[in-house]
């Protein structure tokens, strides 16, 4: 992909992302938000993050044993490690290190 094409894509994607982010204000900005949508907006955060994790791990369904093993192991490690030691930065760095090692060293 040459740089001109990439630049055009960046501009288009920037517009798409901003538009999608603005949608709640476009739809609900002037009007009163229905109570049920308000309730949804309170509950969504937790669900969304889980869906996002599943999304990040989606390659598990298509990748081979070696890659899947690295991904699952690193993720379980990150989750357990973070559950007990609570420092986010440490968890992110260690989890990534585990993944890179498992992916590249074997």
């Amino acid at each position: 992909m040459n740089h001109t094409e990439a630049f055009i894509l960046v501009v288009i994607c920037a517009c798409i992302v901003f538009f999608e982010r603005s949608l709640p204000w476009i739809v609900f900005g002037k009007k009163e938000m229905p109570k049920i949508v308000k309730r949804l907006s309170d509950l969504l955060p937790a669900s969304l993050m889980v869906i996002l994790v599943v999304y990040s791990l989606r390659s598990l369904t298509t990748s081979d044993f070696h890659d899947s093993f690295a991904l699952i192991s690193a993720s379980i490690f990150t989750a357990v490690f973070h559950y007990y030691q609570k420092n986010q930065i440490l968890s992110v760095i260690s989890g990534t290190a585990v993944y890179i090692i498992l992916l590249n060293a074997f």
């Binding site: 049920i36 993050m49 599943v54 609570k86 992110v92």
Partner: protein, 251 residues
């Protein structure tokens, strides 16, 4: 460029006029403390992003521009791999539409809050990301003498600045890491996992997490990795509203 500078000036002028500098400093400090974990994570993850971009042949200027104007962690990472592999226009655009679709849901929680920032609203909208969304959700109490909307603005600002800084650093350092070393982009996944673990630990009601998890895994298995995101989001939202209505009916 000029328009941007003018807009930035408007945002800060609005602040100064409304009330005095000492409160502004307090708000910035509060925001800084709250945002610091994200700032470090973001710096690290965006470094990873900068490196992946550089490995694909797109240097720090590209990373900086994407981080300024697109500013989504997950999709920026995907875009980096698209750049490296030379994907088709339509693929990139469709992926963008679907990956960014979840951003539609984030705004819902903050429609009222962000409106209070006045002219800064477009910037607040622009900088609502997965992590800033999670961070804003986690702050349950704001100090009485400070304005919530200003603190939120500083949170957004500091987060993006650290993301941009990391991308540039990663882009600059790109020559130092051999392109055979893969897996750096896992940093973002690790970040999301830590957020979910924290959320799970702190929440009394685990229903949303379970509903989201079961839906997304189900659709991942049945629809495949390319098509499952949007149905998961829609069905999860539907189920959440359904359960909310049922529970309201019982109370």
């Amino acid at each position: 460029m000029k328009i941007m500078k003018k807009y930035m000036k408007v945002c800060f002028e609005q602040n100064k006029k409304a009330y005095n500098i000492s409160i502004m400093k307090k708000e910035m400090k509060f925001a800084f403390v709250k945002t610091s974990p994200i700032m470090v994570s973001y710096f690290f993850v965006s470094c990873a992003y900068g490196l992946v971009m550089a490995q694909g042949g797109f240097g720090w200027v590209w990373s900086m521009l994407c981080s300024m104007f697109i500013y989504t962690g997950a999709f920026q990472m995907v875009l980096a791999s698209f750049f490296a592999s030379g994907a088709a226009f339509v693929t990139v655009i469709l992926t963008c539409v679907f990956m960014a679709a979840r951003q539609i849901f984030y705004g819902l929680t903050y429609v009222e809050d962000f409106k209070k920032t006045g002219k800064k609203l477009p910037y607040m909208i622009h900088t609502l990301t997965d992590e800033t969304y999670a961070l804003l959700n986690s702050i349950t109490e704001y100090p009485k003498d400070m304005k919530k909307e200003n603190i939120q603005f500083y949170i957004q600002l500091f987060s993006q600045l650290s993301w941009i800084a990391g991308s540039v650093s990663g882009g600059l350092a790109g020559n130092l890491i051999p392109s055979s070393v893969t897996g750096i982009d896992y940093a973002l996944t690790a970040l999301f996992i830590t957020i979910v673990v924290d959320q799970y630990r702190n929440a009394s009601n685990h229903q949303p997490v379970l509903i989201g998890g079961i839906c997304s895994v189900f659709f991942l298995i049945t629809l495949g990795s390319d098509a499952f995101l949007l149905p998961s989001l829609l069905v999860t939202s539907g189920l959440l509203m359904l359960f909310a209505k049922i529970q309201e009916g019982n109370v």
